[in-house]
Point group: C2
Chain length 454, copies 2
Amino acid sequence: MINQQSAAKEKKKNQIFHFSQNTDGPELLYLQVYHHYRNLITARKLLPGSRMPSLRKCSQELQLSRTTVENAYLQLAAEGYIISKAQSGYYVTDIATKEPLPRQTEKPSLPPCRYDLSSSGVDRESFRFDLWQRYLKSALRQNQRLLTYGEPQGEADFRQALSDYVYQKRNIACSPDDIVVGAGVQSLLQILCPLIRDKKTVSFPTPSFIQGSTVFSDFGFQVRYRNKDSGVIYVSPAHMTKWGEIMPVSRRLELIRYAAEHKSLIIEDDFENEFVYLQKPTPSLFSLSGGHDVVYIGSFSRLLLPSIRVSFMILPPGLSETYRKKSEYYNQTASKAEQIALCQFIRDGHLSAQTRRLKRLYSAKLKELLTAVRETFGPDCSIQIGAAGTSLALTLPCQADGASVKKAARLLGLRLTVLKEDQSAITLLLSCSSMPTGDFRPACELLKQVIHSF
Amino acid sequence: MINQQSAAKEKKKNQIFHFSQNTDGPELLYLQVYHHYRNLITARKLLPGSRMPSLRKCSQELQLSRTTVENAYLQLAAEGYIISKAQSGYYVTDIATKEPLPRQTEKPSLPPCRYDLSSSGVDRESFRFDLWQRYLKSALRQNQRLLTYGEPQGEADFRQALSDYVYQKRNIACSPDDIVVGAGVQSLLQILCPLIRDKKTVSFPTPSFIQGSTVFSDFGFQVRYRNKDSGVIYVSPAHMTKWGEIMPVSRRLELIRYAAEHKSLIIEDDFENEFVYLQKPTPSLFSLSGGHDVVYIGSFSRLLLPSIRVSFMILPPGLSETYRKKSEYYNQTASKAEQIALCQFIRDGHLSAQTRRLKRLYSAKLKELLTAVRETFGPDCSIQIGAAGTSLALTLPCQADGASVKKAARLLGLRLTVLKEDQSAITLLLSCSSMPTGDFRPACELLKQVIHSF
């Protein structure tokens, strides 16, 4: 609308400059001037160092207004094609003749990875893609519902399904009103942190959950480790260590008492509680505390597909009210179609079935991996294994440093995670989740070869 | 694992207390004690005020350890079923006899909404669901790719497609490395804000984009309105007002010069630039500035489905490097399947086609709405309409306050957005986007009726 009339006028009287027509309407004049000169410069018809025609001269030649030409020059200058020299005019720079800088993303080529002992991916055979696709397709058919923005807090029926699910599985009694859905744990923490800012300090069990601690430090929290005297205590009771140690009930109760006495808030990230193999999952802190001063966080990435970005948090009464006052200020981050699909998937019992299947599968795979490791490394190795999860920690005598071991392994097509190292030993994290069982032995053999090469 | 042996021992010697078996293994003893008493309380077999058996007595009777009983009591107490009195023991409360509080979500029932003039939804006819479903289905077939977590910055091929798209449509030259994908504008701002924290102040054109200003104030920014002397200047050049006024090129250039002089950062939210009807979209601030000190934000919610949560930002060189140092600390929030689908959708030219279709459709609908409004309200009304968007602002003489008008309208099945009100007039925002064209006249008639009733 702006300049529309003057543009039309200018266009009419223009004699020299050829205008390209374009289906969307006449291109803005100054952009055409800009493109005209940019082409001359990149084609080296205007050489570096040469002076651009003055604004006056150019506007006369092209029969365009001085402003139009000036805007074109300004854009050329802004992009570095020309440079303005005081009281002298514009000069062509050498930008167009320079090769674009090579991107740093290219890495020296490595052999393909044959065995990935470090992956936290999901077992390919474990997930019923066809089933999930059916649910997602059915969600995509809900045209009318997909035409509108989602509820900021998460779809109401999905929150109802989640509330029923946690009641059944984790003995957590909560209203769907206390559940907030988001695209991953970080998205939830980004909503939670501003609500609990007065807590000021947060304690994590280890520095390894960098995505969590980053959000807290982004919001000005002081981040500490294993420091119970913090305003917020972040714990993953079913994932105390990477090899799946879980927090005993006695310590859970102790933690709740301690937090209540010190008015701390516990954030219970219930990561991998589904994989507590040897007994019924230990009770959640949320249910043990009766929902007082505990925020519960649940995710589906390890149960379904890591690529499905849906998590949820359950807020205790006070926080839930504080949140609701602000809830309209946050847009929902999780895909609506995926929420609709997951809602029905849970209602039909497929999430429970998938959990049982995965628990059986990973428990069996972990035993297989344990056997393969024991038989390959014999009495020299020491193994740590917890009550949950998909990994074990393997300590081997080795004088080399972790980085060298990792590199040598990678050159032979083996990907590793080093947990700890000292002068005489190295501790590796071996994950069974995404690797096929048949690969365990050859992977262990290859690892043995790597270690012996030092 | 924990307490496993002692639990087994306890179980053996237990004579009185009946244990339920459950397919997942023996339920924790203390939970059974807890459930036993909770059932007695809720069934009013233990009445409010009655004293619970002492720990000693109970553990003797049930032949369980004192700790087991204590844990059960603690949980009952935490949930409010019993209360501990000093030196006296535990007493049953009246919690179980109280009716659960009615939830506040129930609202007085309203007649169904017949005409929604306030909706920012998408026209039902405009979106080719079948086509999008085909792309999403094809993305869902990429099983191997969906088994792993997504790239924190966004899928590489999707960022490449976005980079090509903005070059073609918005004359923005950027590397895919400078693009960050996220589930909506807020998710992007939550990554951006910590990187530009030293700017301290942010200016928005109006208070209406509450989702944006909330994130800034969450991160400790001082939020101001129409204050150019701010560290960060947030603008939506194609959506200056809700009725679609756009920022003229001259003001864009002026803003860039001003920001460069004052070392401010511009955040250009290119919302609805696709709906600039009367000419080719005005150039982006990012391209005008040559990518200096401008962060560009693009979204698809108005082009595709509001329920698809995919946005992206383009960072200028300095910021892009700062971001990359931290990029691994943020998980991707947007659905991987939707990114894969959208990537191919863009490559195949469907996004451009959809944009052209929507632009034609909304332009025609807006004209129809304009005609309906003019013919219904005659010379009394005044109408503001911009060069972009899907809405117009209608000012009508009216002595009633906005809230009353809105309420009366809603009772007749008409949903309205009030933009402004004073003693003698009211300004309403009428949106044409989701309403069928045939509804414009009856909706206007109904509105007239509402206004005349005051």
